[in-house]
């Protein structure tokens, strides 16, 4: 099938699929960031039990395969009387995993901070809250821009999991599977989706680099 033929037949579907992928990516990344921040707060809290729970969260969700998690959410949880829509299941799966990596990157960002600066902040009379909000968080966030940019791309790639459940509209990967099982879409259908993924990744990377260059801390 040629490009024109494919686009005339599936053009709308591609646009819908692209938006589905973008929507999933944006929602998942936002949720992952919130969870990632919460888990990081737990991991740096002075309360040992919270630290342990935070660490366990990261160990589980950075190591579980996306497919394994999605299958549990879709097929296993109903046995516990927990039934979510396919979309919700996909969204949860592609949020929980990046959240673990988000926390890892934020922890790494915190670890870049020079302990001496924390002491200096205390020495001029800053309270704990001020030290955290004026010295620790701004520096940790700046150090996390590039890793979080890569995480956004990784989150987008993870949303391809959506192709494993029936979604309407489909995501970019699900659409390729659909076209190729219903018609002979051939290589073109694959290339269009791949190009859309790549273009998104490149744009995200460029924006991330630009932000990083602006806020990066000289050492």
């Amino acid at each position: 099938m040629g490009v024109t033929e494919l686009l005339s037949q599936y053009g709308d579907k591609y646009i819908q699929a692209l938006f589905t992928t973008w929507k999933l990516t944006a929602l998942a990344f936002a949720i992952a960031f919130v969870i990632g921040v919460l888990v990081t707060v737990m991991r740096v809290s002075p309360l040992k039990p919270l630290r342990v729970v935070g660490d366990i969260y990261v160990h589980i969700f950075r190591n579980i395969p996306g497919a394994s998690l999605l299958i549990i959410l879709v097929y296993a949880l109903p046995y516990l009387n927990v039934v979510w829509s396919y979309f919700t299941c996909v969204l949860i799966a592609v949020s929980l995993i990046p959240a673990a990596f988000c926390s890892e990157y934020l922890m790494a960002g915190i670890n870049t901070i020079d302990i001496g600066q924390i002491e200096a902040a205390r020495s001029i009379g800053m309270t704990f809250t001020q030290v955290i909000s004026k010295v620790v968080i701004p520096q940790a966030l700046r150090a996390s821009v590039l890793p979080l940019t890569n995480l956004l791309v990784a989150t987008m790639l993870t949303t391809a999991l959506a192709s494993q459940v029936p979604l309407n509209p489909r995501d970019l990967t699900g659409l390729v599977a659909h076209i190729n099982t219903h018609a002979v879409g051939g290589i073109t259908a694959f290339v269009i989706s791949a190009a859309l993924y790549c273009a998104t990744a490149v744009v995200i990377g460029q924006i991330g680099n630009r932000i990083d260059r602006k806020v990066r801390i000289l050492r």
Partner: protein
């Protein structure tokens, strides 16, 4: 709660006072029954071999390090153990660190204004104006818009001094302020410190710079093994110290 000492008249109250201060690191007895009092305007220089506890002593004064027993008073007030009270007291005592410790994400100017605006709640404009004056005083006003990493070590340390001064502290603690500097930059920092001493700033200085101690100190404290071994005027101390250990120490650095 630690008991508060009765307020005295300013002439009598030492700005810094340590009474029977002891500190242990596990088995190690790092500070042994330290008694020290620093009067207003006094410059006390603490010297001693590395590992003698001089840096630890300096850091206990604003509770960067905790102590196991004894009392530390700032202007007659026992130093609180935690929370806002501790922060408030620290705001009155400046500290200059060996490794400068400027806030890496803030400009030089913002490094100096952060304390006044966020801790003392001075209006931004006022804080800026004063910061610029202070930066001029330590000779780095032309660098105000730069980031710490763009400055030399000597310049960074002078900014750190300005950052302390901006809080209008009752005293400034200097914890080996020139030990991390290249030799050619030590002078510029010591000059600023000498200037401060002349203007009547109360200072506690931990240093290896014997010439500075001799010229600027009102009093020299010699520490070894976690204890104060000798307390003397600089002339006495450097010409004929009272203790053999101080003599040995002076000999050892002369031979270097």
């Amino acid at each position: 709660m630690e008991k508060q000492s009765k307020p005295n008249t300013p002439e009598q109250t030492p700005v810094i006072e340590l009474r029977h201060v002891d500190k242990h690191y596990g088995q190690l007895h790092v500070l042994k029954d330290i008694n020290l009092s620093v009067k207003k305007g006094e410059v006390v220089v603490i010297i001693g071999p590395s590992g003698s506890g001089k840096s630890t002593l300096c850091r206990t004064i604003n509770r960067m390090e905790t102590i196991n027993s004894g009392e530390i008073l700032i202007d007659g007030t026992a130093i609180p153990q935690e929370g806002k009270e501790l922060a408030r007291l620290r705001a009155q005592v400046g500290m200059v660190f060996q490794s400068f410790n400027l806030f890496a994400h803030k400009t030089i100017l913002d490094n100096v204004t952060l304390g006044p605006t966020d801790v003392l709640h001075v209006p931004k404009k006022e804080a800026r104006e004063e910061a610029i004056k202070l930066l001029k005083r330590v000779g780095v006003d032309t660098q105000a818009a730069k980031l710490p990493a763009q400055l030399s070590g000597g310049q960074q340390q002078r900014v750190a001094i300005a950052r302390s001064l901006a809080m209008h502290p009752k005293a400034i603690l200097f914890d080996e302020p020139t030990s991390a500097l290249d030799p050619e930059m030590i002078g510029e920092v010591l000059d600023v410190m000498t200037e401060l001493a002349k203007e009547g700033m109360t200072m506690v200085v931990v240093t290896h710079e014997m010439n500075f101690a001799r010229r600027v100190a009102d009093r020299v404290i010699f520490m070894d093994g976690g204890a104060i071994i000798e307390e003397n005027t600089p002339e006495e101390f450097f010409t004929h110290p009272n203790t053999q250990r101080a003599q040995d120490f002076l000999n050892s650095i002369k031979n270097h």
